[in-house]
Amino acid sequence: MANNVFVYCEIEGTQVQEVSQELLTKGRKLANTLGVELHAVVAGTGIKGKVEDQILPFGVDKLFVFDGKDLFPYTSAPHTDILVNLFKEEQPQICLMGATVIGRDLGPRVSSSLTSGLTADCTELEIGPYEDKKNDKVYDNLLYQIRPAFGGNIVATIVNPEHRPQMATVRSGVMQKAIYEGKAKGEVVYPEVSKYVSPEAYVVKVLDHHVEAAKHNLKGSPIVVAGGYGVGSKEGFDQLFQLAKVLHGEVGGSRAAVDAGWIDHDRQIGQTGVTVHPKVYIACGISGQIQHIAGMQDSGIIISVNSDPDAPINRIADYVIVGTVEEVVPKLIKYYKQNSK
């Protein structure tokens, strides 16, 4: 049966990445709305019997496991061949993948091959109608691919009326994963890799592949102290690290702070960085572009420290402290130490 929702599941070794599980949960909801099945595809080496239990519980009706030599570490062409040829057979209406290094390498390659539209870094996905006024046509049940655009100054809703699959990538942490409570078929198939991938596809060789465990737990931290351009310097961030340390939290930064080189790229919060949902978010010297807000708006309590009382982020803050980061942060540390325990 065609017309289903597909999720490409990414792996490191035999570990299914969290972003893929988050997308399975989202994909299940979309499939339910559309009244179709949720299918998943995973490709790697020596994964048979090791990945199924990490994928099926999220409500998958059918899982395609491609297990073959040289499918891990990932290279572009073999994985592209798998998806392109599988999609030619299966004719899915939607395909979701992580907006990771792999997803952003693979997605465009597949979309170009199938001439289907692809929207990167979506922050919301919904199903709805679309009226093409120019051609006087109405489409039901299209995938709304919603993302901040133009450096995060606007939010755009993108649709692909005529081309299938409708493809979208989503960053890690944007969707929330949950074991599916309903019933799903849970069928697993193991197609023969050589029927999908040509031998010439394996020409790029991975000479060395080195992945380290994350240096920090920004995504899962209950307290996040984030700094923006208003922090003023790399030294200014030392204070934020001190504050995070006493609060047992983690430090993040806005894109402006990352671009200025004050904080590592892997700590960037926002649409093109990490999305966080902490209990407490302390924004220091962050003005609040949409691109940043998209990555932290679901935080519990938001405290904004900013010398500009009209900074856009203040509109979504629970507490606005009007003052410089330099002046306020040491006081936060001091009074927390004095009053806690």
Binding site: V101, G117, A120, I154, E212, Q338
Partner: protein, 290 residues
């Protein structure tokens, strides 16, 4: 070996420095209020290309860009830093392109240029942040791709060895030429403009950049053909109009809006000791922080 290298470069509005007048009252982008710059990661790519040229005698570097006539500036910026040539794709029929139609146009131009060994561009452009054009160009040309490159370590025996950044780590890959490479912002920054090259090329323009009534330098363009930059239309690259611009774009924009923040009821405090201590106590009392 001598390499023919094409750098994909884009002129973009500087979305990193958006002022208060960057948005119109209707919530659309006021492009005129944003300065046009050389896309930052494309500069990282240009640097890698120029290094390869130095390491491989006889190599050439050309910039390929698509945009309105004023995007000829991108080619000049490349020439000032050591590139040899450039091509501007400019035609109303290219306008309104999404990433797929853009990659179609670029791929057709690369075919027209011919015998290219390395196509290299930035990972993504700051006005779209999609990172899609590089891989889509590679697919359209049937070439291998290496994305998120940090350094092209070497090119020899028809193979490029490339260090790339991946989620949580690094990888070294070897890819046979021809190959499409996209370069990450963490790669080496681009060298500055060379004063001699600026003097040499400052009058270099595409025909469409020149005023119809002519300029005081017209005699120069007759004497020095290198000052006339290549300018190509859809027809010049034998492009299929249906795959270009708006009509070649599968994605459509349904709606664009300025986000209206759900304004919360917030407490505004000063930076005084009393205010800050009061807030900390409140958060502790409510067990929001431990």
């Amino acid at each position: 070996m001598a390499l023919k290298i094409v750098v994909l470069a884009k002129q973009v509005p500087d979305t990193r420095n958006v002022g208060k007048d960057a948005m119109t009252a209707e919530g659309t982008v006021n492009r005129a209020a944003l300065p046009a710059i050389f896309n930052p990661e494309d500069l990282n790519a240009l640097e890698q290309a120029l290094r390869l040229k130095e390491q491989n005698p006889g190599s050439t570097v050309g910039l390929l860009t698509m945009g309105p006539p004023r995007a000829g500036e991108i080619i000049r910026q490349g020439l000032y830093r050591g590139a040899d040539t450039g091509w501007l794709l400019t035609d109303r029929l290219f306008a309104g392109a999404d990433t797929l139609a853009t990659s179609y146009a670029l791929a057709t131009a690369i075919k027209k240029i011919g015998d290219v060994d390395i196509v290299i561009g930035g990972r993504q452009a700051i006005d779209g942040d999609t990172a899609q054009v590089g891989p889509q160009v590679a697919q359209k040309l049937g070439l291998n791709q290496v994305t998120y490159a940090e350094e092209v370590l070497s090119v020899k025996d028809g193979k490029a060895t490339i260090k790339r950044v991946i989620d949580g780590g690094v990888e070294t890959v070897e890819a046979p030429l021809p190959v499409v490479i996209t370069v990450n912002g963490s790669a080496a920054p681009c060298r500055p403009q060379n004063a001699k090259l600026v003097m040499k090329y400052k009058r270099a323009t595409c025909p469409m950049e020149r005023p119809a009534e002519g300029t005081a330098y017209d005699y120069l363009y007759e004497e020095r053909p290198e000052l006339t930059l290549n300018q190509w239309s859809v027809a010049d690259v034998d492009g299929d109009v249906n795959q270009c611009g708006l009509s070649g774009s599968p994605t459509k924009v349904k709606a664009i809006k300025n986000i209206a923040f759900q304004a919360k009821e917030s407490k505004t405090l000063t930076a005084s000791d009393a205010d800050i201590e009061g807030m900390i106590k409140e958060l502790l009392d409510e067990k929001i922080i431990g």
